[in-house]
């Protein structure tokens, strides 16, 4: 009798554990959930931040979720439809515009107005890159923008002493360094990172009112044509137009590419892979015209959040001077928080002069950010534009035809919005 009773209770308990949702088992008064984008390596830091927050706000539970980049949209949107979106979400690139336009994100301008000292902590150019329809949506978490890395050894071999200062020089230099399997130039292409190449030639994607395409011009066709020819001749590495992350960086770190146009995170990747890299062999410069495309991370609050003030308080803590500095100095990344970035650069000056130089570029010319438009359908436009441009750059179609096709595709998307 006794054994049966025990077994029954045991079975019931086991069933309850197996069948009950885990998050219901945790008892708490208030719960904040925060979704980060592929930054699981900072677990220790986050735990400390959460501990400090919980000490200041007793009774609050923090649920931390981290997903790899491609998984974040799928996860977040499913949660959105179900009505259980995380309170705080870390977003990269331009995906925030879409969600802000669709009403998924909370307008945090009132919070900025209530605490005017807080926005002052940040670089204004970066901070304002997250304004849509005159409303603020994100608080800077970490930032990166494109710059030009160059292989000084290859430059010397080609008789070049300084980085290119114009588009013409990019083409010329790259062609002079092209030899056998060596190529002169490579760029990243996701999230509009290649756009400075266009902007430095005065090419605009859309009209200022963002209603019509503006890139189908003879000048643009000429630029695309030159890029295509340079690609065909080996001056520009083909992977610029077909690679994602690993291939372009891998190519540069193998020492066979003269210049790489990428954002600062690339430095740490290539340094790990390229044994040839040191302060004498790796050059760092702004792209000609000082144009760059940012790829930043910011914290947003979901509109469906039940504790927006609490969520904002947590964001304030995480991006405030104390923790942003710790984050910047441990991870060697810039945060747009002025104090933190200064500390980070200071710590790198002696430790790793190249990293210092790289990160220094991130804070310069922040008024010349391009490649980011406040478009709710940025992803669609990108999907419409890029494949056609790719056709032109890879020589599958001539520049004029490719741009015309791209214009048709982009017009179609714009017409729908």
């Amino acid at each position: 009798m006794d054994r049966r009773h025990v077994l029954k209770t045991g079975a019931a308990a086991a069933a309850a554990t197996l069948f009950a949702p885990a998050y219901l088992r945790a008892q708490s008064n208030k719960k904040l959930s925060i979704l980060t984008w592929n930054i699981a390596d900072q677990e220790a830091l986050f735990k400390e931040e959460f501990a400090e927050f919980k000490a200041a706000h007793p009774g609050v539970e923090i649920e931390w979720l981290d997903k790899k980049g491609p998984d974040v949209p799928a996860f977040y949107q499913t949660q959105l439809v179900a009505g259980t979106a995380p309170d705080i979400v870390d977003l990269q690139g331009e995906i925030w515009v879409e969600w802000a336009a669709n009403g998924a994100l909370l307008d945090i301008t009132p919070y900025f107005q209530a605490d005017p000292e807080f926005p002052k902590l940040f670089n204004t150019d970066y901070l304002s890159s997250w304004i849509y329809n005159k409303k603020n949506y994100l608080v800077p978490f970490y930032i990166a923008k494109t710059l030009l890395f160059y292989n000084k050894l290859m430059f010397k071999d080609a008789g070049l002493s300084a980085p290119p200062t114009s588009f013409d020089e990019i083409i010329k230099f790259s062609e002079s360094m092209a030899k056998a399997e060596k190529t002169g130039f490579i760029t990243l292409n996701f999230d509009w990172l290649y756009w400075p190449l266009m902007k430095m030639n005065g090419i605009e994607l859309l009209t200022p009112d963002l209603k019509k395409p503006a890139f189908n011009t003879p000048e643009a066709a000429a630029v695309v044509d030159r890029l295509a020819k340079a690609t065909a001749s080996g001056g520009i590495n083909k992977i610029s137009w077909t690679g994602r992350w690993v291939e372009p960086n891998g190519a540069f770190s193998s020492g066979t590419v003269g210049m790489m146009h990428a954002h600062s995170s690339a430095y740490f990747f290539v340094k790990g892979q390229g044994r040839w890299i040191n302060r004498d062999t790796l050059g760092v410069a702004q792209a000609p015209g000082n144009w760059s495309t940012p790829t930043n991370h910011g914290f947003a609050i979901s509109k469906s959040s039940k504790n927006p003030e609490l969520a904002f308080a947590l964001i304030k803590l995480m991006t405030g001077n104390k923790w942003a500095t710790k984050f910047a100095t441990t991870r060697r990344i810039l945060t747009a928080n002025l104090v933190a970035d200064k500390a980070c650069l200071a710590s790198l000056e002696n430790e790793d002069p190249v990293a210092h130089a790289v990160l220094q570029t991130q804070l310069e010319h922040t008024d010349k950010l391009t490649g980011n438009w406040p478009l709710a359908n940025d992803a669609e436009i990108k999907d419409a534009f890029w494949p056609e441009l790719q056709n032109g750059l890879l020589g599958r179609k001539d520049a004029k035809t490719a741009l015309a096709a791209a214009e048709r595709a982009v017009t179609r998307v714009l017409r729908r919005s």
Partner: protein, 310 residues
């Protein structure tokens, strides 16, 4: 069913047994049907309804009739490209099946260690598709990949072949990776089919003077039709739902060279937040698959052997 039960009430013991039998049958089917209802049929219905609406996660739905379908058929090159690629992928299933057939014939012969060969060939199936995609992406890599390394070392080519970066080679490369993963699974199905063909049929044919080729065409292939049909259906389903493989290997690129309907649907939904439009593509995809299965069924003699037997 209700009528049957009603009729049964008026009858004697024999009919009551048949009612009990009917209840038993439906009771047996019910749990599975419930699972499919919840996780396949209802989602399909959701997609069908959504395909006639304009909807976003935060705005209420608006009925727009056939607009989504109109856009898809007349205004969307990517749809047609994905469709074309998907059909290409489906058509590659017979290649894998033919290879598997050859392997099965080899393994079926009375050689020692055929279980070892069988295991080795099946090994690729339990591997996570993401892992398959990663390793094959490396193998096809233009700069550091194994295939190019071997080809260059053997002086078969001078410059490396940009498999995954080329508009012409990308899809075939994905197909190769897919076949590698599925080969063992197909082989095992066909092998089992081979092993149930009575040996005496072959012997009788041999006595009648048929050579190996004739025996193969006249005996093996017809009796293997059910296995081959099953392989084809599974292969087709697998290759067109091989989301992980394409997404990790090429992401649908370069351009749209490897974009298949399933990756396009996913991107539409989760990257572009156009779930309504994605639903229209899904419904079309579903109809396409049904159509192909129907065709394959017809081609393999109608009753698909194992899959439908009455």
């Amino acid at each position: 069913m209700i009528e049957a039960a009603a009729k049964a009430k008026t009858g004697g013991p024999v009919l009551r047994r048949s009612t009990r039998r009917a209840i038993l049958i439906w009771a047996f089917l019910a749990p599975s049907l419930l699972i499919f209802l919840l996780y396949r049929i209802l989602p399909l219905a959701w997609n069908v309804v959504l395909s006639f609406e304009a909807w976003s996660p935060l705005k209420p739905a608006v009925f727009i009739g056939l607009d989504n379908y109109q856009e898809m058929l007349f205004d969307d090159d990517v749809f047609w490209q994905s469709l074309w690629n998907t059909i290409g992928l489906i058509s590659s299933a017979p290649i894998g099946i033919a290879l598997a057939l050859g392997l099965a014939l080899l393994v079926d012969s009375e050689i020692r260690g055929r279980e070892i060969y069988r295991t080795i060939i099946f090994l690729s199936y339990p591997l996570m598709t993401v892992a398959v995609a990663i390793i094959w992406r490396w193998m096809f890599d233009e700069r550091v990949g194994l295939i190019n390394y071997v080809a260059r070392s053997l002086h078969l080519v001078d410059t490396p072949i940009p498999f995954l970066n080329s508009f012409t080679w990308a899809l075939p490369s994905v197909i190769v990776a897919n076949i590698w993963q599925m080969l063992g699974f197909y082989m095992v199905i066909i092998l089992s089919g081979l092993q149930t063909i009575p040996r005496n049929l072959y012997e009788a044919a041999g006595i009648d003077g048929a050579n190996a080729f004739h025996r193969f065409i006249r005996i093996t292939v017809p009796l293997l039709k059910p296995s081959l049909f099953l392989c084809f259906v599974i292969g087709m389903l697998n290759s067109v739902t091989s989301f992980d493989l394409v997404y990790v290997m090429t992401g649908g690129g370069p351009g749209r060279a490897t974009e298949i309907l399933i990756t396009y649907i996913y991107k539409l939904g989760f990257n572009q937040t156009r779930f309504d439009y994605a639903a229209a593509v899904t419904v079309t995809f579903f109809i396409l698959l049904l159509g192909i299965t129907y065709l394959a069924n017809r081609l393999s003699g109608g009753n698909a052997g194992a899959v439908e037997r009455d």
